[in-house]
């Protein structure tokens, strides 16, 4: 219940900083001296939607979720964050747009914005790196909008599995088996579905031998091409044949203004 803030001396974990590639050894040292480490237990809230808090936070281990709530309790999980991810980017003088909550035991690195700002003024690469991170974030969110707005339950779940298949794939490059670090309700809130719909869809994927799940939190991808076809909305569901259903509206499109 109380807050466990560990002032960071050396134990700054050997996290992969997003700046690692652009900063020299000296700057890294300097940066690390500004860092304090925060320990989080599952369920801990780091920052709440609407509150103003000008720190820069980086995930060093564990898993966090960023969520927005409606007054009646419905929630949308905007993103999950794990090792090496920046918690959020928003204007410093502006309230947090989302609530950040720890899904399981996690560690954060915290830097006061002032300190980071001072360093960035001396090392313009930092701002450039941040800009690239922001760009990636935007691209990712745009991708997710298609999922939320236009995909069916099965397409959403397939997309989800593929999304969380990748990161852990780094170890075994074929990546057939991996762990889901979150529970069913969180998957549902991430995809704009209910827990039950997620379950049903997972069961169907099992039944159709596209994945196997030796236990609820463990996924084995058996037929990746099929999963990808589903995720990208390739309408292979034999349900509707050609022109009807989920209309493939084709628009007149006038010209293409070439590059240059």
């Amino acid at each position: 219940m109380e807050l466990r803030v560990v002032q960071g001396r050396r134990p700054v974990p050997n996290t992969v900083w997003p700046f690692d590639s652009v900063l020299d050894r000296n700057c890294r040292r300097q940066l690390e001296s500004l860092v304090s480490v925060v320990d989080l237990a599952p369920g801990d809230v780091v920052a709440r939607e609407g509150e103003v808090n000008g720190d820069f936070l980086l995930v060093s281990s564990g898993l966090l979720k960023l969520a927005k709530r409606l007054p009646d309790g419905r929630q949308q999980i905007v993103a999950f964050r794990s090792v090496g991810d920046i918690l959020t980017l928003h204007r410093r003088d502006t309230p947090w747009p989302v609530t950040a909550q720890s899904v399981r035991a996690s560690k954060l690195c915290r830097i006061e914005w002032e300190g980071l700002r001072r360093m960035a003024d001396a090392n313009p690469e930092i701002d450039r790196a941040l800009l690239d991170l922001a760009a990636d974030e935007i691209t990712g969110l745009q991708e997710r909008m298609v999922t939320l707005g236009r995909k069916s339950t099965e397409e959403k779940v397939a997309s989800f599995l593929l999304e969380f298949c990748q990161p852990l794939a780094v170890q075994s490059n074929i990546c057939r088996e991996f762990a889901l670090p979150m529970r069913r309700p969180e998957i549902a809130d991430y995809l704009g579905l209910t827990t039950e719909s997620v379950c049903r869809e997972l069961s169907r994927l099992k039944r159709e031998k596209i994945v196997a799940m030796p236990r609820p939190s463990r996924v084995v991808v058996l037929n990746r091409p099929a999963l990808e076809a589903l995720a990208h909305g390739e309408t292979n569901r034999a349900t509707y044949s050609s022109g009807s259903g989920m209309q493939a509206r084709r628009e007149r499109e006038r010209a293409r203004v070439g590059p240059r």
Copy 2:
């Protein structure tokens, strides 16, 4: 059908640049010398999802939409862009994540990334301004995710009306009446709905005297509080009374890690 690229000399429109506040007169001049103007007719495509094109584009008039498509033609409109907006931010070496298409006659300002990069190296305020813009973009997209993932049709439409009520409100500060610059199918693709659902909801809002629409593209807000209540999901629909329906799942939440 052919592309109309007007090499910009002086006629660079007196657009409000996002950098206006941070650059001195001299730098502005320099920036403007790098700009060329692109004219767009309704339906023109500026850049297509997946294609690589390293220019920096700024809307100087008109209205554009940024959309992503699924292979069967379903599309999600990720954002609309109008005067003063940057078209998109994404890593320069990376393919466009969305297709940008002109909704009606528009003008763009184009700067080659190389030129902008060079200027930004000399004027770090530029990168900082871009970072702020990116942050705003992220915050906006997060807000839209709630709309797409967790709101009902009526809540989506109400949110939409309020969103497009603001920008044009600058003129009359009470902003009761405004024009919708896009058509029904575009509203639908923006909200993850069908044209028909959008229509039906607008009709309902008219019937309940929350808005009036003297003609399809013109909206008069009659009861703003009611519209806001709907938009923010205040569940005033007398449909379900207390605990049931669209469950207000309440989670145990452990601690709040304070600022500092």
